[in-house]
């Protein structure tokens, strides 16, 4: 009786392991949270107008933010392909040149990615400020936003 239970226990663990391998194996290939500019360009006309996410770095010196009309323009790059991104609304406080970003929107026929949501992908690096360096208080922009500033 007890031996049977050991086998049931081991069997369940084996099933759990098999599910992990199958799910993970299947998902590993298919889960794509965002496309890179190179992948998006390769798809081209196939994905015009479809809602998707695009991830890469903000190309230095490409950012053009017009606060009067709330229009943001920048070039996103994966080091290989560059694509222009146009977005409405203010970017998150941590948005800056060279920063990783994921944008939600769609790719249009004119080759511009129109985004309605810019998200900043920060790294896993943390360090204290250097002498004379003042950290930005990123949450402040939220408080100001609430206050209508």
């Amino acid at each position: 009786m007890n031996r049977r239970r050991v086998w049931i226990g081991l069997g369940l663990v084996a099933i759990a392991g098999a599910i992990t391998l199958l799910v993970a194996g299947g998902l590993r290939e298919n889960v794509v949270y965002f496309l890179t500019p190179t992948e998006l360009e390769a798809k081209g006309a196939e994905v015009y107008g479809a809602p998707l996410r695009l991830g890469g770095q903000v190309k230095p010196e490409s950012v053009d933010w017009n606060p009067d009309v709330g229009r943001l323009f920048f070039v996103i790059t994966d080091g290989e392909t560059e694509l222009p991104v146009e977005s409405s609304g203010a970017p998150p406080a941590m948005f800056s040149e060279g920063m990783g970003v994921v944008v939600e929107g769609s790719y249009r026929e004119d080759g511009v990615f129109r985004s309605h949501n810019v998200m900043v992908k920060h790294s896993n690096e943390y360090r204290p400020p250097k002498e004379g360096e003042h950290p930005r208080e990123v949450y402040r922009s939220l408080i100001d936003e609430e206050a209508g500033g």
Binding site: V120, N124, E137
Partner: protein, 234 residues
């Protein structure tokens, strides 16, 4: 097996551990809030790291304990493994929810969104659902033995998602950053994080002792009720 056979933790020792836990948690919070400077890039918000990471660690530790206790239960059919499993599951749910809420609060000022369906966040939400489901299934079963058996099966199969949550940031493209390491973090930050991980781990052991004691008492009441209602339809 009757309830009187179930081992009980020593209440005096549990109290002592509770006091020690309180002191270490207070020290960890003080260190995270005042001892180290805030991150150069993110500012004060980054201090959430010292609670968010330990909470996520406890969630995964809890569900690993559920897994081990479930296997032991199926092999030995000793109710104490079942009661330890449900104790761990409840604690895991609390800390999964805490990690999700703190992550959301951290995400808005840094990422720009409270939530996004990236693989790390999605698999974590699934993990929460699995263990909430575990508790729901338990509440459906009237027979303690059947309840223990069903939930042990969920405790084993459901654990599948836990390593996937951890590996999601390494396997897939995510908005969530990969795990920090001593190489990606300043030394003083690492020490404070480790102190808080230790504090939360102590808290876990303390909560387990308390919750298990409660589970034994609940089981006792249930057994008395079952004996009283024996042969009667309630």
């Amino acid at each position: 097996m009757t309830i009187t056979d179930l081992p009980q933790p020593n209440p005096g020792r549990a109290r002592l551990l509770g006091t020690a836990t309180l002191l270490v948690v207070a020290a960890g919070s003080a260190a995270g809030l005042f001892l180290v400077p805030a991150d150069a890039l993110q500012g004060e918000v980054q201090r959430l790291l010292y609670v968010h990471v330990p909470a996520a660690w406890l969630a995964m530790l809890s569900f690993f304990v559920v897994f081990v206790m479930s296997v032991l239960y199926l092999i030995q059919r000793d109710p104490k493994w079942d009661l330890l499993a449900v104790s761990a599951a409840e604690i895991g749910i609390v800390f999964t929810a805490l990690a999700l809420v703190l992550g959301s609060l951290w995400g808005k000022p840094t990422w720009g969104v409270w939530w996004t369906w990236d693989p790390r966040l999605t698999t974590t939400a699934i993990m929460l659902m699995i263990y909430v489901g575990y508790l729901v299934v338990r509440s459906f079963a009237d027979d303690p033995e059947k309840r223990a058996r069903w939930s042990a099966i969920i405790g084993i199969i459901g654990f599948v998602d836990v390593p996937i949550v951890y590996l999601s940031v390494l396997w897939w493209r995510t908005l969530h950053q990969p795990p920090s390491s001593p190489r990606s973090m300043a030394g003083e930050f690492v020490y404070v994080l480790l102190l808080n991980v230790a504090a939360f781990t102590l808290l876990y052991v303390y909560l387990m002792l308390r919750r298990y004691r409660l589970a034994v008492a609940e089981r006792h009441v249930e057994e008395l009720r079952l004996t009283r209602d024996d042969g009667r339809i309630t």
